[in-house]
């Protein structure tokens, strides 16, 4: 990661901007303590290292795993009331996401809401959402896009914005190439990673057409007061060094019936989310009433993530 990206003041109403950029600055100052504690976390991970693949764990093993994850987090961050869950996919639920390109203003609030919710490393920064600034004259042309745009105010004239995160493909190349099946697609459509099982070979990062998979090049650092204690074991638990991570549609929220953090924070309502099998859901409304497209459709990844132009 080259530099910190600012949260930009949008042309649409939004008071969260100033606060959010303040947060990201403080993040930098608090990282040293976190890094020291991180070493301890790695040392006591022997138990995790010797366990079986997540999907082969018995009920008892899972209980032990959850207890261990909670203990590790408490040890590193103090007693923050960690709740570690392994909430399973619900039958009859298949999540899908809609993103309205005509509304997005490129303010990057989603980027930082995601970082806070999902316990991403603050130094070095890991962002699961990358907002691409594109020329209106060129259309969707990633090779000419810019992710590091800085502006007094967004949207800038002549530009439009395309946030990209994990597209939760139905035909995920990352899952196909993983040599140890450390990543797989859940029945509700979410592609997850077993952080204890990942080898760190980064084949999945080479295979992903969306730059959605991110690597912990060093131990992630998060200040204790910024850790989100509401944790899913396949989602936002604090990751060890040397493994890959990615967007999980906020698995810890959405399986409990809540919206992903990026949907909630979006000041212009560009982000839609829901159960594609539920005829009354917001996402179904989008698909019925608007015309959607998927990103890089020529690669046949068949995403659960749809872009559309509502207006």
């Amino acid at each position: 990661m080259r530099k910190s990206l600012p949260v930009l003041q949008g042309g649409a109403p939004g008071e969260a901007a100033a606060e959010a950029s303040d947060l990201s600055r403080r993040d930098f100052l608090r990282t040293a303590a976190g890094a020291a504690a991180a070493a301890a976390l790695t040392a006591c991970d022997v138990e995790g290292m010797l366990r079986r693949h997540f999907r082969e764990l018995s009920r008892d093993d899972v209980a032990k795993l959850l207890a261990r994850v909670e203990r590790d987090h408490r040890k590193r961050f103090g007693d923050k009331g960690f709740k570690v869950s392994n909430m399973a996919p619900r039958p009859g639920v298949e999540f899908a996401y809609g993103l309205d390109l005509s509304r997005c203003i490129g303010c990057r609030r989603c980027v930082y809401a995601c970082v806070t919710e999902n316990n991403q490393s603050r130094d070095p920064q890991i962002h699961w959402i990358r907002v691409l600034e594109m020329d209106k004259a060129r259309g969707v042309d990633v090779m000419e896009s810019d992710v590091y745009y800085e502006a007094e105010q967004v949207p800038r004239p002549g530009k439009f914005y395309m946030p990209v995160q994990c597209q939760q493909c139905r035909n995920p190349p990352c899952v196909k190439v993983c040599p140890v099946t450390a990543t797989w697609k859940e029945p509700d459509g979410i592609v997850v990673v077993d952080y204890d099982w990942c080898l760190g070979c980064r084949c999945c990062m080479a295979a992903c057409p969306y730059g959605a998979r991110h690597f912990n090049w060093t131990t992630p650092s998060i200040a204790p007061e910024e850790v989100n204690p509401n944790i899913h074991v396949l989602g936002n638990r604090v990751r060890p060094k040397g493994v890959v991570e990615k967007c999980t549609f906020c698995i810890q929220r959405t399986r409990a019936g809540r919206y992903p953090a990026c949907v909630e924070i979006c000041p212009v309502g560009a982000r839609k989310f829901g159960n594609i099998l539920d005829a009354g859901s917001e996402i179904r409304y989008v698909m019925d009433q608007k015309r959607v497209f998927v990103f890089k459709e020529e690669l046949n990844t068949r995403p659960h993530f749809y872009y559309f132009y509502a207006t």
């Binding site: 290292m49 693949h53 090779m143 992710v147 190439v177 450390a182 760190g200 060093t218 060094k241």
Partner: protein, 412 residues
């Protein structure tokens, strides 16, 4: 068995001043590598220059190049059988020992590249969960280890039999050597498929990739062997004829032509059609938006490959030892760049979302790479040191200790 091991120890522990100096240099390289790896282990792969945008680099580049060396070394066996040279078994053994060393380096490069090496056991069947047959890396692990096993079996069998004053068992060696020929093509093809299968990276997702891998391997591997043959001819009484060397050189000339032809075919397609996928080739040769870190090396690689081809295609310069060795050096350098960094880096620059991150290896990466090469060279040196006296009949069962070598022996 014990006398064999004792004899081996005597062989590797004695040598000229140059031999000890060479061992000391390799020891130093290994020590530097260990220091680099210690730093990388404690800090994480952030000690390298790799980042999310360019998530593979120098290690995987060297890995790819060395798979070619391992594959090509034994491809010498083909002409050896076709042309029925006299010193056939020596060629087989020397080629296969080079393959063994190259394979060990390949596996080490994968090891140092993984972020969580303690999880490597997850790739093994039964205890782990290998994603077979979907993951190309699993296939690569299977074929590389299988190839290592084949070569090690042949080498150990031939040397052990000779040590006991017997001819090798043709029923064991011939089928294995014949199997190793398609297997050699297989390891490089599977390694090519590791890249080739990734639709997200248009630079790699071209059907020409595997043929190009094979063509370049036919150039770089024999180049190393030709130089080694000449060194061994000087330092031992090894019977390697001029004819053998010039035949290998002739075959290399064909391989070099084919390698350049395939390169040209790819360049034409990229630039003439000029789709959005041209950016990767453009980055490699000309740079993009002012980012030009790789371009000079790409041109050096092209220049080396063309110059080596000219030296090899003209019979006179192919037969002259000076220009022959110059050509070997040039093609080695050309393929090392082309099949290493020249393959990995433009595949990932720009990244899938169009970002350009310029990758250049850090000191840590150079240190670790030095260590891996040190281990590989050390293995080859020790193998040659043991194998040559056995092949020459100076070291056999029943001898109190290995006979002294020819005066200048031991410099290998």
């Amino acid at each position: 068995m014990l006398t064999f091991l004792k004899g081996c120890w005597r062989l590797v522990s004695r040598g000229s001043r140059w031999y000890y100096a060479w061992l000391a240099l390799l020891g130093l390289m290994i020590a530097v590598g260990l220091a680099g790896y210690a730093r990388q282990s404690s800090r994480g792969l952030i000690a390298t220059s790799m980042r999310d945008q360019v998530s593979w680099g120098f290690y995987i580049g060297n890995f790819t190049f060395l798979v070619g060396v391992a594959a090509a070394a034994v491809l010498l066996v083909v002409p050896a059988y076709v042309y029925q040279w006299k010193p056939i078994k020596e060629v087989v053994v020397l080629g296969e020992m080079l393959a063994i060393s190259a394979l060990v380096m390949c596996l080490l490069y994968i090891l140092v590249d993984t972020g969580s090496p303690l999880n490597l056991w997850h790739i093994f069947p039964f205890v782990g969960s290998p994603n077979f047959p979907y993951s190309m890396l699993v296939w690569d692990a299977v074929v590389l280890n299988g190839y290592l096993l084949i070569n090690a079996t042949v080498v150990v069998h031939i040397l052990y039999k000779l040590f006991h004053g017997q001819e090798y068992n043709r029923m064991v060696v011939v089928p294995l050597v014949l199997l190793s020929i398609p297997w050699a093509v297989g390891i490089h093809t599977v390694t090519a498929f590791l890249y080739n299968g990734m639709a997200a990276r248009p630079y790699w997702n071209a059907s020409i990739l595997a043929p190009r891998f094979i063509a370049s391997a036919f150039c770089s591997g024999p180049a190393i062997l030709l130089v080694l043959f000449q060194v061994l001819r000087r330092t031992t009484r090894f019977p390697i004829s001029d004819e053998a060397i010039s035949k290998v050189a002739e075959l290399m000339a064909y391989a070099m032509f084919f390698n350049l032809f395939l390169l040209g075919a790819e360049i034409f397609k990229e630039f003439y059609s000029g789709t959005e996928h041209v950016v990767f080739t453009q980055y490699l040769y000309f740079g993009l938006h002012g980012h030009r870190a790789v371009a000079p090396f790409a041109w050096i690689a092209v220049a080396c490959s063309v110059a080596a081809f000219l030296l090899f295609v003209i019979p006179r310069s192919r037969r002259n030892p000076v220009t022959l060795n110059l050509g070997c050096g040039l093609i080695f350098a050309g393929v090392f760049i082309e099949k290493g960094m020249g393959l990995v880096i433009p595949g990932m620059t720009p990244d899938t979302l169009g970002e350009i991150y310029e990758y250049t290896p850090t000191m840590t990466e150079w240190m670790v790479a030095a260590g891996v090469f040190g281990i590989g060279f050390l293995i080859y040196t020790l193998l040659v040191k043991i194998a040559v006296p056995i092949l020459e009949g100076r070291f056999q069962a029943g001898m109190a200790e290995p006979l002294p070598a020819a005066p200048e022996a031991g410099a290998a």
